[in-house]
């Protein structure tokens, strides 16, 4: 199995487990109209180690970690300005095409 495939599987598995856990929590909060999920549960490691640990880490740290692990897109400009920043055209496009 290639490194890309391993990363693909890891992401799919972790996302699936996190989504299942979130569905349980959100479903409990809203109550009526939801059922017990029939989606297959994830393994014990994901359920009792990965998900609780992931939830404890602040989002800003998670974002930095995902970037460091090269899980986020590269060769893409982050487009959104932060609160209070004026809009600016994308750097490359403004220099080369004046878009």
């Amino acid at each position: 199995m290639s490194f890309t495939e391993i990363k693909h599987r890891l992401r799919a598995r972790s996302e699936y487990g996190l989504r299942l856990a979130a569905m349980e929590d959100v479903g409990r909060r809203y109550g009526g109209g939801t059922h017990d999920s029939a989606l297959p549960q994830v393994g014990l490691f994901w359920r009792y180690v990965f998900i609780p640990c992931f939830r404890r880490v602040p989002w800003s740290t998670k974002r930095k970690a995902m970037r460091a692990l090269k899980m986020t897109a590269r060769d893409w400009p982050e487009d959104a300005r932060r609160f209070g920043e004026p809009w600016r055209p994308p750097a490359r496009a403004s220099q080369e095409t004046g878009r």
Partner: protein, 451 residues
Amino acid sequence: MSERLIVIGGGGSGTAAATIAKRVNPDMHVTLFSEFPDIAYSPCGIPYAHGREIPEFKDLFLSTVQRYVDDGLDMRMETTVTDIDLARRTVTARNAHEGFDKLILCTGFVWEQPDVPGVNLEGLHYVKDIRRAMEFDKEIDSMKRAVVIGGMWLGVEMSGALARRGLEVQFIDDGPWLLSELVDPDVAEPAQEALEKLGVNVRTGTRLLGFEGSGGRVRAVSSSAGELECDVAVVCLHKLPNTSLARAIGLKLGTIGAVVVDDHMRTSAPGVWAAGDLIEVPHGLSMLPIGGLTGSHAYAQGRVAGANAAGEDRSYDPVWIPWGFMAGDYTIGGFSIGETLAEAMGIPYVIAKGVGVSRARYFPGAARTHVKLLAEPDTLRLIGGQLHGGEGIKERCDFLAFVAKRGATLEDLAWMENIYSPPIGALFEPIQIAAQTGLAEQARRREQVTA
């Protein structure tokens, strides 16, 4: 000799790429290969043609192959590309080689197949090719019962369509509520009610176990809720990137198994671009690569790839994904993320909820519009939302995705301007109401903390 561009794939992204490339550089020789006989039709309209909301399938065809030929494109219909040789710059189709200088891959998606017994039975229907859909449409009149499998929006649309045609429809989904991968339970609830009003039996929390056949044809769907008899099983699971050619030529694949491109739709191979459902693009909030987006995303990506292959310099932004569709007669939509996904990713958020009306309250046809916005707790910057109601949901989701991308906050939305004209808009815009309510809630909490 003019430059040669080959586009593989005749869906939204491929058609857009070929058309724009020719428009940008009329001297370029542009060849489009498609395995299908038709071009420029709307696959997204198929459920509505089945439901007879669109009277005839021919209404879904927006253009003809001949029109593209007249525009100077070399159209190779019903021609499957079986091999690409990047070193020699050739593609192989029907045992003949065709040279290229530049290549755009738009090979789209394949449907996820359920991993259960009986998937090879006849009578399992996947919505994709319009010719197959037209054949299926003729069969519907002789059918009585359908089971629709899968928690994605196509399943909801197909359930509504088949119910409108008078079939007894069972919708099964293993999630805890309707469309649980996409929508929050408070938005799913009215959507489910709308489907039930059409007669669809919605069974969430129900697992598909297999397909039971008789004489090689499906006769029932075996599920955790028992055996559900049917004349057809419509399978609507996930869209998977069709990367077989991309893999064969060694293009870099990403963490969702789709082709990695940069903001110019360039792949890892020089002179090769890709667009549409086979690629992954970053989500604007997290910058995590995602895929399997809408037809409008595929089309826009195709335009960027085509323009760049023809010599322009266009970039594509990370996506904030406005989405929306009909569940029966009810509209649901959203953008970016909802509560469930925010919880899953561990993104902190505050919620701003409000209900307004789509027109002046007294004007006939006014519909309640429910708005739920998610914002960052510290800056109140918009990060997602989900809406439901009647008219105007689509436009609001488009608007919200755009302003979220530009960094709008709940404060901005609470004081936004809006159109007040009784037949088309109420005095108080529902988005404003939600944002105002959210701000008031935040102020109340701050007071509680300081007290």
